[in-house]
Symmetry: C2
Subunit: 346 residues, 2 copies
DNA sequence: ATCGGTCATGTTTGCGCTAACACGATGGAG
DNA sequence: CTCCATCGTGTTAGCGCAAACATGACCGAT
């Protein structure tokens, strides 16, 4: 009997607005706005009445109207190419969490292939959908300045090219890959073979470069590099070749899944891990501790990556887009398990 | 040197509006709107002039203003609990793809735990951020009607409870788990042991129920069920127990990662797969073909799930929220690999 | 008592867009 | 040659919100 407007099915075309709440609470719409925004200059009793009215009507701010008037959307865009890759999914989750904590939502645009066209399209989709900033996960081609950004929108690249014109956050891949290689050398291996990721991936390139650099610095011979496509199947294929060579005693794969494929190939060739061949991966996917044998690998802190991405983006938003370009590196950590050991006695 | 306005740093406070384009093209804002929406009743030459002006200014529709006036946001919300789980990440990717194809964006809300509070909060975040519909991935507690939805918003549940008040899309888990169990029985195993997922997961419950049902129907004894938490580590822990029992010759794990842990435990206990013990997983994660040995498992079509989710949501949007509740089931497929074989000769 | 200052609240305005309507020009039917 | 439908285009209004400004009540200091 009171003014309680029960939303019965089918009725109520539009959700309640500030005006509705204002009417019910007997105040002006502006006062409702002040309460909704938590401004201090509202009388305690008035605020209570407004809050009650809000609850009664189930009022929620219309974010479109709010965005329209503020010019800010409180939404971040994420462009990703392959969410079935563990690292990318984890990074997205972390970005989402960090954004949520900062009061932002995350809008995901999925680009099938990391071609320039696809990225361009994803950018349009996002800016068209009203985002305040964009994170690109594992961008491979963003160094091409050909990207025509519709407006001066902040962009942060996660695990992308380091020479890109954008701020970037990534794992210190050089440190991780270097530690992995050095670990094998320290065990006494004469050299380390590398199963790399795809050539067009900057992550893969940086891991390979660090592998090569570490070998060179240790004056170890640098074996020819093999390149897979991150999948276990490609690791298996390359592993088959490597298993056939007696002089291969240590293999560093650019990710855990390829390492898994390598180990299967070694197993089928009758070469034991780690007594005959040592294998190291990269990523520390949760199940790598249960590989046969448990895999020595490099652990990455995706949560930190996500936090940093969102942090940089919000910084740029506050400081204006022209602000300084930042490059943040997150330290990885070598996790030693049972897949590595000293080389067989020569 | 033409009128191409290059966005130089710091300049240009606000992006161009329809009015700006209209000015440049010498038409009214309404005509620009018509062109932007692809309406037919615009003269060819006029359209060209407008399009040229749009390109010159780099015009993009302001989706906030558009949403404000239309009451539609062209955005779908997705609530997810654990993106590091392979299936969830794949489902999200598929939803994103399908949504994009339908002209919708995807807003991801990450709920840490599938508690009612967290879901409620995620819902508020999404509806507050202006979405037209919501997909909940792997909801565990949505049967509680206690969920207080802010408005009559379409909701579809992917892989959640089947008795929920919402439309749902999921894998036909009964068929998949049944096929896995039957496969082992057909090979001659007297019975099949089950390593289940967490008790509060509907997916896990349904797989376990189908396993039990298949055994019962075949008049095979039903061994006690063990429950893990989807991780390889929990599979390993349970696998250690099972490996100690001589009467265990066939194990069906509720996902591939737990199967991996089980196989490691069997390996360490000196029990060979598949000659002594057969193992089947669920999910067909891409790397399961490279487990040692390659894993027999159940393949799920995540793309189809994503498509169906988006389809149902858009149907509800068009038909009104009161429309019929739909339950869609996507058929899984048993993939037989090297981890299963006949039991050892008794 | 008078004044400037503070506080709570109301009023006005416009963000960018599209639905609805208005209007003039054209064209075929009568 | 008139009439009305059609077509291309312009005009107006309002979506829900918050910034800017306006108002009036109250206060302590003079």
């Amino acid at each position: 009997m009171a003014g309680v407007e029960v939303p019965f099915p089918g009725a109520r075309k539009r959700p309640p607005s500030q005006a509705d709440v204002a009417m019910l609470a007997g105040v002006s719409a502006q006062t409702v706005s002040r309460v909704a925004n938590g401004l201090s200059n509202v009388d305690g009793q008035t605020r209570e009445r407004v809050l009650t009215a809000m609850r009664e009507l189930g009022y929620q701010r219309n974010s479109a109207a709010r965005a329209l008037v503020l010019g800010r959307f409180h939404m971040l865009g994420v462009i990703s190419f392959d969410l079935s890759a563990h690292g990318n999914a984890r990074t997205l989750a972390a970005i989402s969490r960090a954004a949520q904590a900062a009061g932002y939502s995350v809008n995901v645009a999925y680009a099938e292939k990391p071609t320039e066209d696809a990225v361009q399209q994803a950018f349009f989709q996002l800016t068209g959908q009203a985002v305040d900033g964009v994170v690109v996960i594992e961008a491979q081609i963003l160094d091409r300045q050909g990207l025509h950004l519709p407006s001066a929108i902040p962009v942060v690249v996660a695990d992308g090219a380091q020479n890109s014109p954008f701020s970037s956050v990534d794992n210190n891949q050089a440190a991780g890959a270097g530690a992995a290689t050095q670990h094998l050398l320290d065990l006494g291996h004469r050299t380390v073979w590398h199963v790399g990721g795809p050539e067009d991936s900057y992550s893969a390139r940086r891991r390979a470069a660090a592998w090569r650099g570490t070998l060179t610095q240790a004056q170890a011979p640098v074996p020819p590099q093999h390149s897979g496509d991150w999948t276990a199947a490609s690791g298996y294929r390359i592993g088959t070749e490597l298993a056939a060579r007696d002089d291969v005693t240590a293999i560093f794969a650019a990710n855990d899944h390829m390492a898994l494929g390598v180990m299967l190939a070694l197993h089928e060739a009758g070469r034991d891990v780690p007594t005959e061949v040592s294998v190291v991966g990269y990523d520390d996917v949760p199940e790598s501790a249960c590989f046969i044998p448990p895999l020595t690998t490099v652990h990455q802190d995706f949560e930190e990556i996500g936090r940093q991405c969102v942090g940089l983006l919000l910084d740029q938003l506050d400081a204006g887009v022209g602000s300084a370009q930042a490059v943040v590196s997150v330290a990885p950590r070598l996790v030693v398990r049972a897949s590595t050991g000293p080389p067989p006695a020569a």
